[in-house]
């Protein structure tokens, strides 16, 4: 009866040991927690652990497996890994393509600066292109060292969302 839960890079094994009223005993990666666990309103919980007070807000992201989570001091993205999630993750892995990077903008914008041309060698972290969108400028950098294989953007011109702008082939 244990599940895996993903938070950032960590995948934790969670197991409910007992749950009576507000008293919850649960283990995370083998570590036991005795909690006073109260649902205070929709998506909002108050947890006392050794009298430390945690106020946890859960905002579901598409369905019941993923949550944006707020505590007083932090924000997280958390995912419950059930069978469906495992299947999807495995399928993604198979498709992963790690020999090149396609740089594109998630929303429409305008090319402010284009710093590379086809055939240029780029270092990891080097700024390749600057896009202005919603009045803000965003710098796009090369994720790894490589060579510019193609450039589809022109300085001063508009680009569509998800349009291929620059392709970098990794060395």
């Amino acid at each position: 009866m244990s599940y895996e839960v993903k938070l950032k890079d960590r995948i934790a094994k969670v197991e409910v040991l007992s749950h009576q009223g507000d008293k919850l005993l649960v283990s995370v990666d083998g570590k036991e927690y005795a909690l006073d666990f109260v649902r205070i309103s929709k998506g909002s919980y108050s947890i006392l652990h050794q009298n430390k007070s945690y106020n946890v807000e859960l905002i579901p992201v598409n369905g019941i497996r993923k949550y944006d989570v707020n505590t007083l001091k932090h924000t997280f993205e958390v995912e419950i890994i059930d069978a469906e999630a495992k299947y999807l993750a495995n399928r993604r892995k198979g498709q992963e393509d790690d020999h090149e990077a396609v740089i594109s903008s998630p929303i429409p914008g305008k090319v402010v600066n284009l710093f590379v041309k086809e055939g240029d060698t780029v270092k990891a972290g080097q700024t390749v292109i600057v896009i202005a969108a919603m009045k803000m400028e965003s710098e796009f950098k090369a994720p790894k060292a490589g060579v510019v294989r193609s450039v589809k953007a022109v300085e001063g011109q508009n680009v569509e969302a998800r349009q291929e702008l620059v392709v970098i082939e990794f060395k």
């Binding site: 599940y3 040991l17 652990h49 019941i64 998630p106 929303i107």
Partner: protein, 501 residues
């Protein structure tokens, strides 16, 4: 007297303007594009009129539609907010022609300050310092050497035809002058076919400091002190504060007087801002004038104790200023944090989308101006500024500590945002120290994108809570599955002995 104001803007500034109008018992008319039917300014105003499709060129920048709406709605004045048509001299002129009060300066003042070269000349004539250098092309080496001698090092040599850094040379030492000049000219010649250059004083550690002014139609001009705006990313301000932590009282006085002189030089009326670039020795140079309300105006409102929108309206009504320079004081310290819908982990790319949840900070010294609500879909057509946090403290340290507390409580879920990035800035040593320049964000990049480390156990608590919510929902979705689960739990508790707190 103005009775009905059309607000030719959207977002937080439109809402903020409507608030002050409501307090003055002035009716308000919101205008909206297709994308903004559900925007907060539409919900909050007394009236709302559609003015065109989503792209701002066809709606918020569409002078004809806005003028027509003003007439149809019977508005006697237009407030342009900031951005959009606020610094468009044609719009100001058009309002005049149509007999509508434009809550802002004359077309002439906007034009003079809008043109960099006219503004520079006007300021020089008014005795306001500008960045030393020339805007005329220099064609000979002798001329260049003479000018560098006058300006003093360091200087920046720039190609007249330039762009993209080509033909640019920074000169910091006498021995490099000739080499740099020749290099710049040759590079410029190769790149642009024109080897003429400009020379400008290079400000090594620049501060961006601006002064708020108010000018009425009776020739009275006052300044409401400065705002320090050096925390910028790609020329976009992120955090502003007042007073500036680096200004001395003497320099503040001088710059305030310069700001008043600048406004008088263009016969300015309304609220405006004189931007200066200031070096480490507190030399200050006129940069430009913003002939409108600024995004960061609330920090001035807080420390000076004035509602700038109401002042704008009084001025537009032809009333003389009630505030007198000698009565004005900076009370305590205020900091503004701009909340953008953008992703600091992904090139600060704007992040439109649906806001699913908001936690807003409250309590002593905290003001939030915003334009979002739970369920609101941030459109991708406009500025990603979604809220401003304005915090006051009796001194800079209190304002800083209170801002941290407020940011910690501030949560916007559903869209990426820069709240945690702002919090990092308030913990950066250079910011805390108070002597930061416009290079601050670049210089502190690594520190700023790091995350705050989690308390002991706090990750585990988050994991547990999300998991319990998941179980709860499964239970609701399929009672059968949950019954099995419950029995399982019972088994576990039997095996492990029942736990009691």
């Amino acid at each position: 007297m103005i009775k009905k104001v059309l607000v030719a803007n959207r977002g937080e500034i439109a809402v903020r303007i409507i608030r002050s109008c409501r307090e003055m018992d002035i009716s308000t008319v919101a205008v909206y594009s297709d994308a903004d039917r559900s925007a907060l300014h539409v919900l909050y105003a007394d009236e709302a009129w559609h003015i065109g499709p989503s792209p701002s060129t066809e709606s918020y920048l569409n002078i004809e539609n806005i003028i027509r709406t003003a007439h149809l709605s019977g508005a006697d004045a237009i407030h342009p907010g900031y951005g959009f048509l606020s610094e468009n001299p044609d719009f100001s002129a058009r309002c005049r022609e149509e007999g509508i009060i434009f809550i802002g300066p004359s077309p002439n003042a906007i034009s003079m300050m809008g043109d960099k070269i006219t503004a520079r000349t006007t300021m020089t004539e008014a005795g306001v310092p500008v960045v030393p250098g020339t805007k005329d092309k220099i064609e000979s080496e002798e001329e260049a050497l003479k000018l560098i001698g006058e300006i003093g090092l360091p200087v920046m040599i720039k190609a007249s035809a330039g762009g993209g850094g080509k033909g640019m040379r920074l000169v910091t030492s006498d021995k490099d002058v000739t080499t740099a000049l020749r290099g710049a000219r040759s590079e410029a010649g190769t790149a642009f076919g024109d080897d003429s250059i400009f020379i400008e004083k290079y400000i090594e550690a620049p501060h961006h400091i601006e002064f708020q002014i108010l000018a009425d139609s009776h020739g009275n001009v006052i300044h409401l002190f400065e705002r320090e705006c050096s925390v910028q990313r790609r020329h976009q301000k992120i955090i502003e504060e007042t007073p500036s932590p680096i200004l001395t009282p003497e320099r503040r006085l001088q710059m305030g007087e310069a700001a008043i002189a600048a406004a008088k030089a263009v016969d300015y009326q309304g609220a405006g801002t004189i931007e200066f670039i200031v070096d480490q020795d507190l030399n200050y140079y006129f940069l430009e004038m913003n002939t409108r309300l600024q995004v960061e105006h609330p920090i001035t409102e807080r420390v000076v104790g004035v509602d700038l929108v109401k002042e704008q309206i009084h001025i537009a009504n032809g009333k003389p200023l009630q505030l007198r320079q000698e009565d004005l004081k900076q009370q305590g310290h205020a900091i503004e944090c701009r909340v953008y819908a953008e992703d600091p982990d992904n090139n600060f790319m704007p992040a439109p989308g649906k806001v699913t949840h908001i936690d807003i900070p409250y309590g002593v010294g905290v003001r939030v101006d915003g334009s979002i609500y739970e369920g609101f879909e941030i459109p991708l057509y406009y500025d990603p500024l979604i809220a401003k946090l304005i915090v006051w403290g009796k001194d800079r340290m209190e304002a800083l500590e209170r801002s941290r507390r407020a940011l910690q409580e501030f949560k916007i879920t559903g869209v990426k945002n820069n709240l945690r990035f702002l919090e990092r800035i308030l913990h950066a040593k250079d910011f805390v120290g108070g002597n930061y320049t416009t290079h601050f964000v670049e210089e502190n990049k690594e520190f700023l994108v790091n995350e705050f480390s989690c308390d002991n156990h706090c990750e585990d608590i988050v994991i547990i809570t999300a998991f319990m919510e998941y179980l709860r929902k499964i239970h609701k979705a399929s009672p059968k599955e949950m019954t099995a689960l419950k029995n399982n739990w019972k088994d576990y508790s039997r095996v492990r002995s029942v736990f009691k707190l």
